[in-house]
Amino acid sequence: MEVTAPARETIDIILEEGGEALKSCYQCGLCTGICPWNQLTGFELRKLIHKSQMGVIDFEDEDIWRCVGCKACVDRCPRGVDMIFLMRSIRRVVMEIGAGIVPHSLRLSEKNISGAGNPLGEPPEKRMDWAKDLGVKTFTEGTEILYFPCCYQAYDPVSRNTALATVNILKKAGADFGIPDNNVVCCGESIRKAGAESLFQRLAQTNISIFKEAGVKKILVTSPHCYHTFKDEYPELGGNFEIIHLNQYLAELIKEGKLKFTKELNKKVTYHDSCCLGRYQGIYDEPRQILNSIPGLEFIEMRDNHEYSLCCGGCAGRLWMETKKGERMSELRLEQMFEVGAGTLAISCPYCMANFNDGILTMGKEDAVEIKDISELVWEAL
């Protein structure tokens, strides 16, 4: 039998990288019981924490890249252990100190973000090409709102529809807004959770100085990941801006009667709470208010909703890593959509968009159902 002694040095490294959370864990296993991975495959989350407590973690184990940071366990943990912080610190040990192996696909995305400023590796000078023919102005000092689309919404042909719909809605609502120039980079939210701390710091500083220089005060986003990092992580680096997600903005416009729908949308729609907008921010009501105000739209809830929403599987860098068929959370979630007979899955996050679109393709459902960002549905009905 192998004999194990606590390895103080490893424990200290994890603690140094911000893994304080491991101290509070009393090994009840609630996190393992809650973790959506365990509906698909084995992921011994509790054991991973205990291994960190003992300093015997295997940094070459693929499991340290598994946690998607969906926050379901954090919200119910009896000791308030922030697993996302802990995972981030363990990954830092690999990413920054080089203690283990970074999965190839993640390393590629990291390189893309580092070099091109976006995970897709698209040329930075083409970042704002999506808006070329829309006649949208570039943000200048004095403009009320900066609309900041996520990298996917800027480059990915499917996600781009969100940015287009958003711009159209904003124009219709008469909003005073502008878009950034090509110098902005990825917000850095996911790559930070994946452990690339120094890269995150660089990205954040780049964006913060661009925003500050341009005199930005209010930023509208269509990705809850940008929302989370701008709102919760940039302030500690000196970036204090008012951040608003499109859902909040639209709900307010509708409430004030400033957005009038002219078309009926005869669709049976269900809504997927993304982790970053739901559990991270508690924004549950606004998307539902928007959908329920669209004429003709029939809204239906899936089994797991609000704070119990099931992750699409794309947070914390997991979007960039390969997940075997049969082990994908997005497919589990789509089953829930089929279960309630919805034809449209409304989402408000580019990662959910990517994962669910992949899901319906691999499940052969691309003709039966559609994945739509809320902005697209709103624009359709205006």
Binding site: G29, T32, G33, I34, P78
Partner: protein, 661 residues
Amino acid sequence: MSQDKDKKDAQPKIGVYVCHCGSNIASVIDVPQVVEFAKGLNAVAIAREYKFMCSDPGQNMIKDDIKKLDLNRVVVASCSPLLHEQTFRHAVQEAGLNPYLFEMANIREHCSWTTEDHEQATKKAKALVSAAVRRVYYHQPLETKEVPVNTNTLIIGGGIAGIQAALEIANAGHKVFLVEREPSIGGHMIQFDKTFPTLDCSACILTPKMTSVGSHPNIELMTYSEVIEVSGFIGNFQAKIRKKPRYVDEDKCNGCGVCMEKCPWKASSEFDLGLSQRKAIYTPFAQAVPNIPVIDKEHCAYFQKGKCRACEKFCDREAIDFEQQEKIVEIEMGNIIVTTGYDPFDPTPITKYGYGRLPNVYTGLEFERICNSVGPTGGKIVLKDGSEPKSVAIIHCVGSRDKNYHKYCSRVCCMYALKYSHLIKEKTQADVYQMYIDMRCFGKGYEEFYERLSNEGVTFIRGKVAEVTDRAMNDDEKGKLIVCGEDTLLGTTVRVPVDMVILCIALEARADAKQVSQLLGISQDADGFFIERHPKLDPVATMSDGIFIAGCCQGCKDIPDTVAQASAAATRVLALISKGTVEMEAAIAVIDEEKCSGCRICNLLCPYSAITFIEEDKVSRINEALCKGCGTCVAACPSAAITHNHFTAEEIMAELEGVLI
């Protein structure tokens, strides 16, 4: 006591004693330096240091110096006056000084424990010593007065804690007012079926005590009543009790129960937690003490619709009184014991456990009633459909050890969970699963009980349950409640299909504990429980003299601990009664009648109603027995006519100057 040393005109001669408190003070503060500093202060005759000033040698050092050096003022720089002011006052008194010619400088809690900066700490210690020395210079001898202790005791709450305390005091020959807001005494304990680990029938061991309370000549039992006002101080409290109308004349009723039999109206039984029904006129349970029913106005047809009066018709004692009004009773007592108990945690917010949503998910307290032979199922452990469960899961730590609800361990759940396992095994063929995090079996005979249950074939699964669901994944799970979580010892997730789930709910502070704390002037901790005077050395007293706490209102505990604490509280009360008098604070306010303009501002502000206006002299006067020395009047007096003994302007100014060296 009053010797030359106390004389006002005697030149102050001060002794300063700096304590190391082991390493508590000395590891941070440079004590020799403080001593050297003290030696240079005005009127200081001697300054010394010692490892433990509170020890006998420490105290003797002070006493010897007083005698040898003819000291007439003493300063001790050590811990909080809360801990040792009395010790040192007593020491100087033994050496012939008036105890008020002593002053304490707190260089531990206020200094060495608050910083690791040695230099700054030493500097502050010097400032505190300097302040105490300057202050004590002006101290005057004061005389304490003694007032008699009223031998009556008020006990609030008639659960096992209140019952125990009441019997202890009443059996010692003193009067007890036992106030209970429910129609009967008995508390939660009377709802339990068996008690761990001995498995005594809870009612069998409690009802004899309840009956004794009911018939005891020294106990005035006031059920269906609430304390609404408390005033006074240790030895001399007054309280107002609201007696809610029962609509049954307590003097006429003989408890025959015919009214309950004939009453046609029903309501959900509070005693059975809604699992059965009771009548609109009812006693909560058969062995209620007193055995006098109450009419529930909300469900009585006569009160609601003006018709019925069936109870009245059949009562041959003519005890039914629909006109009865609530009564306010005023009582006096010397001491108060608070035994208001706990509330069971409502698990509804933990939606994933399905309580209130999934059938056959019960709380522990509900299960106690189900097990009980006079409970809603006649003691049969059955499911909602009347069938016997084939498997039961018992989930630990529901609302306990969880920062989302209560961070603390409720201390009783592991044991009652084991007890349930035994009862289920005894009464059914069911498989029992204990879903636990850590088994905490710390009491006498508890670990042995755990071992016994292990041998009875109970399955222990270590892990906090994530979810109870009725969504079956296979045929075996169909129609079952599936308990999901991680078996942390196997390191795998488990799904346990069962028929019944019991949630071991936490104990929590009473929802209205805050009102009680305000009523009595006692404090609550962060969890809402009442705070004892000292967590280890004085767990039954409160910071309010003459008010004691016992049982779960102070913190979660089991029956043996509750009974022990209740007996301890009773003993403390008896000690005060036995002593017969209490010393009144000498540091009280006095009015200089020459300066008093008779404006009466102080009369209204005094929280102890200690100041009255003397019409013939047109001045206000303070009742020395009632004044607690709070200082409110001193600050408020526009003519500066009120002086606070031991807190004179002279003393306070000198102290301030001392700090600002």
